[in-house]
Amino acid sequence: MDYQSMLSWALPIGVGVAAFGSALGIGRAVGSAMEAMGRQPEAAGKIQTAMIVGAAFIEALTLYALLVFIMLQGKIGG
């Protein structure tokens, strides 16, 4: 298998894995935040902020994967 074939397999799989991981991460973060807010509504502000920061980092990782995909996409020859 040559370099381009490997790349054409690896890129979509990589983006898929990144999206799957991010979806799991954000899902767990939201679930835990809801649970924590239910237990301690007075701490909702802090929980929301921590969740925003976490969600931003998770989203950034997915965007990095997407950008790497776009950057390497041109290297897959026809």
Binding site: P41, I52, A56, M71
Partner: protein
């Protein structure tokens, strides 16, 4: 005692990122040229707008009193299709390198990381005074 993760942590991060981007723009133009500097700046601004809408979405959708559905849907509609389309449009600008956009986008996270690290290491609370529990961010 207030800690670094109070509600305005995001607002302060956005403010500092904006200042860092504004300061780095003329230096970037001088040292790297106008297009890489503009791409860096645009990536940073895109990241800031993205964080503004993400935090608005979370604050309206996930809160103890129940979601403000209308506003949450409004933020979601702006954030997911429109903002991502804007990002795609930035990527398609012929003179903008994706790497420069990515570097600009990362400034926000670098600021967040440095703020959190500084608070953890120096034991500073929000007012800049020393925290009695330095491990708490």
């Amino acid at each position: 005692m207030k800690t670094g993760f109070e509600l305005d942590f995001v607002a302060r991060t956005l403010r500092i990122t904006g200042v860092v981007l504004l300061i780095s723009l003329p230096f970037g133009i001088y040292y790297f040229g106008i297009w890489p500097a503009l791409a860096f700046f645009s990536g940073g601004i895109w990241g800031m707008v993205n964080l503004i809408f993400l935090s608005s979405l979370i604050r309206t959708a996930i809160r103890p009193g129940g979601a403000d559905t209308t506003r949450a849907v409004g933020f979601a509609v702006i954030k997911f299709p429109l903002l991502y389309l804007a990002g795609y449009a930035l990527l398609k600008v012929p003179r903008f390198e994706p790497l420069h956009l990515l570097a600009g986008f990362s400034v926000l996270f670098l600021v967040m990381l440095l703020k959190a690290t500084a608070r953890a290491l120096l034991g500073l609370d929000e007012t800049g005074e020393h925290n009695s529990n330095p491990g708490q961010v």
